[in-house]
Symmetry: C2
Subunit: 237 residues, 2 copies
């Protein structure tokens, strides 16, 4: 049943799936970077481009799903292949959401150009954004090179991102209290900060998936110990 021919085709399809995810990662990274530039430089054209290009990310997510189905159809799925294939769906979904947060940030940056947000607050958004962007870049490298150590490094940086986010959140509240005329602008910055922090959560999830895909164990599981693997195949025939 599982002839050499089918096995070879499976490997080819798997390679194609990885290439699609790498492409999706590259596009997501560029969308995220461009959204940050739009905020930093009040560049509505860059923001418009991010919004216009978001369907390209969705199309790649769709492609991943379709390729996954083909892979599953090529042979009766076994534990390791299933793990790789299902992790791929989840990594693509996480990238799609990161791109979505980039799009939302771009949209809010356009609204912000109508107001006068406190410069220090905008700088804070950029600082948080650069942390997440660096983590995104590294986790994509970790995926491309199947580098679990690098993924663990990204996973460990989540706490710092959360701390910077919390500090920024409090900072924004003080600007609003000091000058109520900044409330609308600062509210958009608050949501931007939240979008970026959530994007960071998804970067952390991808780091987990890179580990899980490769070793069958996530970092949290390794830390908790004794917890079962994400996709048990007990009793699967």
């Amino acid at each position: 049943m599982a002839s050499d021919h089918i096995l070879k085709r499976f490997d080819q399809e798997l390679e194609r799936l990885n290439a699609t995810i790498n492409e999706m990662g590259g596009l997501t990274e560029s969308q995220f970077a461009k959204a940050l530039a739009a905020v930093r430089e009040r560049d509505t054209q860059a923001a418009d481009e991010v919004i216009a290009d978001d369907p390209k990310v969705d199309a790649l997510d769709q492609a991943v799903q379709e390729q996954t189905v083909k892979l599953l159809a090529l042979r009766q799925p076994m534990a390791n292949d299933l793990r790789v294939v299902l992790s791929s769906i989840k990594i693509a979904a996480a990238l799609e959401r990161i791109a979505d947060y980039a799009k939302n940030t771009a949209k809010r940056s356009i609204v912000l150009t109508h107001g006068a947000p406190p410069a220090a607050a905008v700088a804070g958004i950029d600082r948080l954004g650069r942390l997440v962007r660096a983590a995104l870049k590294d986790v994509l490298d970790a995926f491309a090179n199947d580098d679990v150590d690098k993924a663990r490094d990204v996973w460990n940086r989540d706490e710092e991102i959360d701390q910077v986010y919390t500090g920024l959140f409090r900072e924004l509240l003080t600007y609003m209290m000091e000058d109520p005329s900044t409330i609308t602008a600062c509210t958009h910055l608050l949501f931007m900060a939240k979008n970026i922090e959530r994007a960071g959560d998804h970067v952390t999830n991808i780091a987990e998936l890179v580990s899980f895909r490769s070793t069958g164990q996530s970092f949290a599981e390794a830390r908790r110990k004794g917890s079962g693997a994400l996709y048990s195949t007990d009793g699967a025939s």
Copy 2:
């Protein structure tokens, strides 16, 4: 290869998968309702319960994933079965996120009890929450009864939810501007409103998936016309 025995086992596993999703839906609905009550009645005990019970939803999501893998392993997946199985993963993921938004809302409700949020704003959150809760209840019924018409009705209500959210957002900004001492409380209410609106988006996604699972077409696709189905199996062998 696909003996009657395997076919029967497949149907049994599928039934079990549906039962797990129904259970997950019921728990998510009760978490969501309890989070709203926690906000409305400043009930920190209810909020604590929502937070404590969130891992139960995660465990059911995990169970759906494991059962899905077993189903896929039982036989080489065909177009219809794949659609049902992959839709189930996505419905579970959407429920998991709705429960997550309920948990976040519950957490913020605890912080809010330390302040004095404007009563009208809290009432606005409750109004928005009730709309989403009703949509959640209906989409779960639509799933349980495979009722595409009911799912379409839920899908159509998304616009109203968005309108109510936008109105509430603006209302909250005015409270903050009028009385800067409410800024911290209103910021939590802003994020709560966003959480509830996002939960509503996921309810809409589930409505799409109920349709897609049953008919192979989502409502948006039916509206756009000519768009391909979500899981193409062209060329799958």
